[in-house]
């Protein structure tokens, strides 16, 4: 699929692109709001894509069952409504008016319109942004099932959202698409030195914030994230820039129970509370810190992590 070049005020926003979409692979593109809108507009011109917009409203005076019945007759879908209610895990809500649903369920229901789409391509804008976790989980499973028959593309501004259900994630900027390495990070894992023979080293992590240099003790750190190839250290909900690369940091921190859980993330294992399984090949780690912080976990790193934790 080809995307045309787009310029605003003489500045190139999107170069001409070619997207390879396949059934069975959920594609994700992480980009800013402006590019998202441009992409959506280009997809809207094509007749063969169903677009699910973030601001999709709903017939709020209908009950859930009535809406599904309406969607069924309008789209010519063949499965009975009762079966769909079960599949969508909405059985207990079938008599509830949509206006009275919890807000996360309301958005979940709007997203389910993609299930009735007849088009071979489905494009979703920010599907997970306003969903609560159980609904994210439920929707991720449905999408995975749907991807057997349809080509699915998720547009989001938030990398973590893309990682929930995408098999392949690209970052889009003015230079074009950049593949984010999620699944096959194996090849790049460096051979590590045997621990123990290291000489004395500084174990504080130097960071910068507002022109001040701040030194952190490794146990204080929650996790480290790589954004545009510079490391951001997260401590108690605040972020600090660090001049070291992720590889250097990983080497420094491995004796402190830190773990490279993803190509762009190092996490402090002491602070991991929960291992979240989104689908059979996408995982996240929830931390114990006060804020609701979640760090993605590559499938390839999962085995290594399980070994480390003896689970």
């Amino acid at each position: 699929m080809n995307i045309r070049e787009m310029s605003v005020n003489g500045q190139r926003i999107i170069p001409p692109l070619e997207l390879n979409m396949e059934k069975g692979i959920i594609l994700g593109i992480q980009t800013n709001v402006q590019r998202k809108k441009i992409l959506l507009a280009q997809f809207a011109e094509r007749g063969d894509a169903y677009l699910s917009f973030a601001e999709q409203g709903e017939y709020t005076r209908l009950t859930v069952e009535e809406l599904l019945r309406f969607m069924k007759s309008v789209s010519g879908h063949d499965k009975p409504v009762r079966l769909m209610l079960q599949l969508f895990q909405l059985g207990e809500y079938h008599k509830v008016k949509i206006a009275d649903l919890p807000s996360s369920k309301k958005i979940y229901l709007s997203l389910l319109r993609v299930y009735y789409a007849q088009q071979p391509i489905i494009v979703l804008e920010e599907p997970y942004f306003q969903l609560e976790e159980p609904d994210q989980l439920a929707f991720a499973r449905l999408l995975e099932e749907l991807s057997e028959e349809k080509q699915i593309l998720i547009l989001t501004a938030n990398l973590e959202d893309a990682l929930i259900s995408c098999d392949t994630v690209y970052r889009l900027d003015e230079a074009g698409l950049h593949l984010l390495d999620i699944t096959d990070a194996d090849d790049e894992m460096e051979t590590r030195d045997e621990p123990g023979e290291a000489e004395f080293k500084i174990h504080k992590i130097p960071t910068k914030k507002n022109d001040k240099t701040i030194l952190f003790n490794p146990p204080e750190i929650d996790y480290i994230e790589s954004i545009n190839s510079s490391a951001m250290v997260h401590v108690a909900g605040e972020t600090y820039a660090c001049a070291l690369t992720l590889a250097e940091l990983e080497e420094r921190l491995q004796h402190y129970g830190f773990f490279r859980c993803h190509r762009s993330y190092i996490v402090n294992l002491q602070k991991v509370r929960e291992l979240i399984t989104w689908t059979k090949n996408s995982y996240s780690l929830r931390l114990t810190t006060g804020k609701d912080s979640v760090v993605p976990l590559s499938r390839t790193k999962l085995a290594e992590l399980k070994e480390l934790l003896n689970i």
């Binding site: 677009l51 601001e55 005076r61 209908l62 309406f70 309008v74 010519g76 088009q119």
Partner: protein, 236 residues
């Protein structure tokens, strides 16, 4: 553009449920009934009063409900999603218009009964009101297409209400201001003229003229509403 009865029916039922549960809109069916009861006892100029009630009801009920149904669908972005299903634009428009037509017909018939209006020619009255409902539905569609929200839609109906309902009354000043002659050709004035002519027992030729003018209005406005509907939905 393919039209499917099954989809039209689905849209009809969906809109009926939404209409009956949205009291801000469905309360409009009480106006014609209340007016019919209010003016029932008055003797004398029955045809003119009856024509006023019908004209008022057509604008207040038919146009208003149709405008609200379309505007609400736009406001909630459900129309855009509906356009991506196999349902065509025509399915949506026919489903909504059919609902509005049935509601209006039932309410107008009921208020005619309550008012106790008796006519010598039921067929002619039914035809005139039926064509008027089509015409006011088209006006409602146009109002709905030009408003983004439910609130805008309910306000946009008021100019229609004022021009069409008050038109026949402004004709009283025709001698002072000759240009008001134009108002004679409003469908509401024509409906009023038709009813008065029926009461005095005018000749068939005289009865046909208002009916033809109302029909021309209905055809022209329906075509305009179709074109606008298609154009404005493409722009979205």
């Amino acid at each position: 553009m393919n039209v499917s009865l099954k989809r039209i029916q689905a849209i009809f039922i969906k809109d009926y449920k939404e209409f009956s549960r949205n009291y801000a809109v469905s309360i409009m069916i009480l106006f014609p009934i209340a007016f019919a009861l209010l003016y029932r006892s008055e003797a004398g100029d029955q045809a003119a009063i009856y024509a006023f009630i019908m004209n008022f009801s057509l604008a207040m009920l038919t146009s208003f409900v149709q405008a609200c149904l379309i505007a609400e669908e736009k406001e909630r972005n459900t129309l855009r999603s509906l356009m991506m299903t196999p349902a065509s634009m025509l399915d949506v428009l026919i489903g909504k218009s059919a609902l509005v037509f049935l509601i209006s017909a039932a309410v107008l018939a009921f208020s005619t009964y309550l008012f106790g209006y008796e006519t010598s020619n039921v067929m002619l009255l039914t035809a005139a009101l039926g064509i008027s409902i089509v015409l006011y539905t088209a006006i409602g569609t146009i109002c709905g297409l030009y408003s983004k929200t439910l609130l805008e839609a309910s306000l946009s109906v008021f100019p229609v209400l004022i021009i069409f309902t008050a038109g026949p009354f402004a004709l009283a000043f025709e001698e002072q201001y000759p240009f008001l002659e134009v108002l004679r050709y409003l469908p509401s004035s024509q409906l009023s003229e038709l009813l008065v002519a029926m009461e005095v027992g005018a000749a068939a030729g005289e009865l046909a003229r208002p009916l033809v003018i109302i029909s021309i209005w209905a055809v022209v406005l329906t075509i305009i509403s179709f074109i606008l509907y298609k154009k404005r939905l493409m722009d979205q």
